[in-house]
């Protein structure tokens, strides 16, 4: 990458090359490292800590809604995949296989799970006999494998971490309610905690989960205008119940198949958070997700440090006691070096205090997101930090929302206009963004858009900002108003 421009922080500017910016930013923030195993990364402590916070928030929401965690085997016998036809076709090309153990060949080869519907289905068929056993509401935190050709840290890796919920219900209605409830929880967590606005909607059949009746997603726009599918929730109907014979005796004394759902979010969310909020100075973590919310740095000459620390130490304790995730950087480096490092890592607030501040009974608070600095009286620091963290969280969400609106195109009606739009944006090195388009429901029209523009259908939003009348590809009546975008 010797040819690329990088700034004084060693980061390629976003405007120069967004993909390089992303890799530079996560390397500089020390979130991950590549490994000698194809497509597999190490989640280093600062990267993993982001995942721990996502886990903690999600897990709390799952438990509040009556779900419990379990753990299923990672290895799945080949024959299990055969039980659901679409499922095997969808996942077979990317499955790694265990074929031997110690010095012996296995009789049946075992896949590293790409997802666990089959194993869960097999077990549920043993556990569910009667309507009294329903609903079954289980979640699993696990590693999963999809042997990808092209990988990108956090967003697409051969091994990744995720949660997968698997539920079984007596009726379609109840299973559909569950599917929507979990999608709603995903939306709330991603919007409220990660400060990423998302569109909830339904996937088109070509983008549906292999084996699902209906797939729903939340979709987020990155700063390069591309889309990330940030979470999915599937109504699986009786597909897996029939494949694995999950039947129950209902109140009416009839044997019936259960209706199942599954839903998942993954370490992709880490990548999304970075691509939505990061800037040319590195990461910008939303306060609610930031492992460190405030870093305290003493400034001024070393010989006056003692005087500063007399105020610094009790302030640190006060902030900690107030529940703020605070960190003191007392290393033997210059303030400038420290400012730079914590900016790269995306810490939302920096507190500076020097001898003159002590004399004036004040500190400086600097925002990571806007660069603004404010002077705050010493005895109002805790209160001000609390307020600022809330404010930053809100403003980061609003900024992401504004960006999304600015890069969403609602008035493109034909494929000709779409091609012109794409050509124009590419010529100006601008984001192609998202295009809201009418779609007649024919796969051939979806394919046509993809072939000509590389835009794929993201989802059919539940609440489209405009309702489209004509299919963008064929001009016939539109059945579905759909988001199209380039996607990770």
């Amino acid at each position: 990458m010797a040819d690329g421009k990088v700034n004084e922080k060693g980061i390629t500017p976003q405007s120069e090359n967004f993909s390089r910016w992303y890799i530079d930013a996560i390397r500089k923030a020390d979130l991950m490292d590549y490994t000698p195993v194809r497509g597999c990364i190490v989640f280093k402590p600062d990267g993993f800590e982001l995942w721990e916070r996502i886990q903690s928030v999600m897990d709390g929401r799952f438990k509040e809604t009556g779900h419990r965690n379990a753990y299923f085997p990672m290895l799945i016998p080949e024959s299990f995949f055969q039980k659901e036809k679409e499922h095997v076709e969808g996942f077979n090309p990317e499955l790694p296989w265990v074929t031997e153990a110690g010095s012996e060949k296995l009789e049946e080869k075992l896949a590293l799970r790409p997802t666990s519907e089959t194993m869960v289905g097999r077990m549920y068929s043993q556990w569910i006999q009667s309507y009294r056993d329903l609903p079954v509401l289980i979640n699993q935190w696990a590693n999963v494998f999809r042997w990808e050709k092209r990988t990108l840290p956090f967003l697409r890796t051969s091994e990744f971490l995720w949660q997968e919920g698997h539920t079984a219900h007596a009726t379609e209605e109840e299973a559909r309610e569950e599917t929507m409830q979990m999608l709603q929880i995903y939306k709330e967590v991603v919007e409220q905690e990660l400060a990423i606005p998302v569109w909830m909607g339904q996937k088109t059949p070509s983008e549906r989960f292999a084996g699902a009746v209906d797939t729903y997603s939340i979709e987020a726009m990155m700063k390069d205008g591309k889309a990330v599918q940030a979470g999915t929730s599937h109504y699986l109907g009786e597909n897996f119940a029939r494949g694995f014979d999950i039947q129950f005796l209902d109140r009416d004394n009839q044997q019936k198949y259960v209706h199942t759902t599954s839903w998942g979010t993954s370490t992709r969310l880490i990548g999304s958070m970075i691509m939505v909020h990061g800037d040319d100075r590195g990461l910008v973590n939303p306060p609610r997700m930031a492992p460190t919310q405030l870093v305290m740095i003493p400034v001024g000459p070393g010989k006056l440090r003692e005087k500063v620390m007399e105020k610094f130490d009790p302030l640190f304790d006060q902030l900690k006691e107030a529940g703020i995730r605070v960190r003191a950087d007392l290393r033997d480096e210059s303030p400038g070096w420290k400012f730079n490092e914590w900016e790269l890592r995306g810490v939302p607030l920096r507190l500076e205090i020097g001898p003159r501040d002590v004399d004036n009974n004040q500190v400086i608070l600097a925002r990571r997101d806007t660069g603004e600095k404010v002077t705050v009286e010493l005895d109002r620091v805790v209160e001000q930090v609390e307020e600022l963290l809330v404010k930053i969280q809100e403003e980061m969400f609003q900024r992401a929302l504004d960006f999304r609106e600015k890069n969403s195109y609602l008035e493109i009606e034909t494929i000709g206009d779409l091609n012109a739009h794409v050509a124009q944006m590419e010529k100006e090195s601008k984001a192609v963004g998202w295009v809201l388009a009418g779609w007649c429901g024919e796969e051939s029209c979806e394919s046509k858009v993809k072939e000509e523009t590389k835009l794929t259908s993201r989802n059919i939003p539940f609440e489209a900002p405009v309702v489209k009348k004509r299919c963008i590809a064929c001009g016939s009546e539109s059945k579905f108003t759909t988001w199209f975008a380039r996607a990770y």
Copy 2:
């Protein structure tokens, strides 16, 4: 198992057949299920919840002592294992191998990690350059694989869950301190939280971790007198540093190899907790680890239920508010059926309240561990429950300690006496227990004990209750006073 005696709970008594008792108890408590994949189990929600509590306590202690979590790839290239000679010999027989992905054969086969020293070593060699990069203090929560011939739920399964700490230090002294610190933390968590007394000590070379300089363990006695290695901590010296070339530039400007440690505890702890405390009525969970500490069950005729619930509901809220993990069982089943179910699951305390109790302004509290019942005034329930939970925890530990002492034999001096002891115990269908024996340090003597009695060395305790003068096998001078026992 149609020939075995089972009690009215469907559990084989411990005295009849301890292994069957164990399987019966964990099945009745709904902790796990077998799967079609050899040696792999499902951790069902009630079993996984025990693991979540262990995780939460351990993780807190790791973080307090400056460790951070990370995640390394699960797949390890075959060539990595070759880098440390003893390591490859130790683990090769039990490694499952991924040899293909999708439809292509891999160029180099990949093992499912049995432990991560090799992958971690490879990465540390990239991350560590200078003394400023040290120490590296990382822990990982992960699934690991050891393709075992004979498996037992929780205690020995082909896939299991664990944590593995991996640290790198500038000096041997510091690495040895870390090794001991983590062993001490394991001891404290297992004794204080799981109420299991353990012996800390050093493993003999034949029982050492493959690739370690020194292995230390905590060892626990189960109710059948057998031993479980409940946690291990290894000082790895420069072995992995040399294998993976982990060198740093020290303050004195010399290139040096780092000194590494690793330490682990696993889902074995779930099995140990059950085998130390369980009885013929099922599980007995120590209060600090119990997912549910108190179950509330209304009793008396249904027509008076409303009157009972007027007291029941606010009491539930009070208990919850006081931080007690309380559960109300309001299902439409008889009290006796519920009592039985919560006994099987090992809930430490049961609260009963009926119409007459309401008249008398009281409730009944029943202990799971001793069966004792006490009558408590309504307005003193929270306080009494808190006290009882502390008391039960202490008494469970003391009972396990008494059991261990009763089944520890300190006065067996020769292999002849040991053989006689084993024969006697087996004749009387009693636990062989643990034998403290002198050992000269020769592997042949250790082997002789194993061959003749099936007792293996557990560890050389740091503080042996008696110091032995003569080797139990050859009669020459004893160098190490060692615990011998049959082990899981």
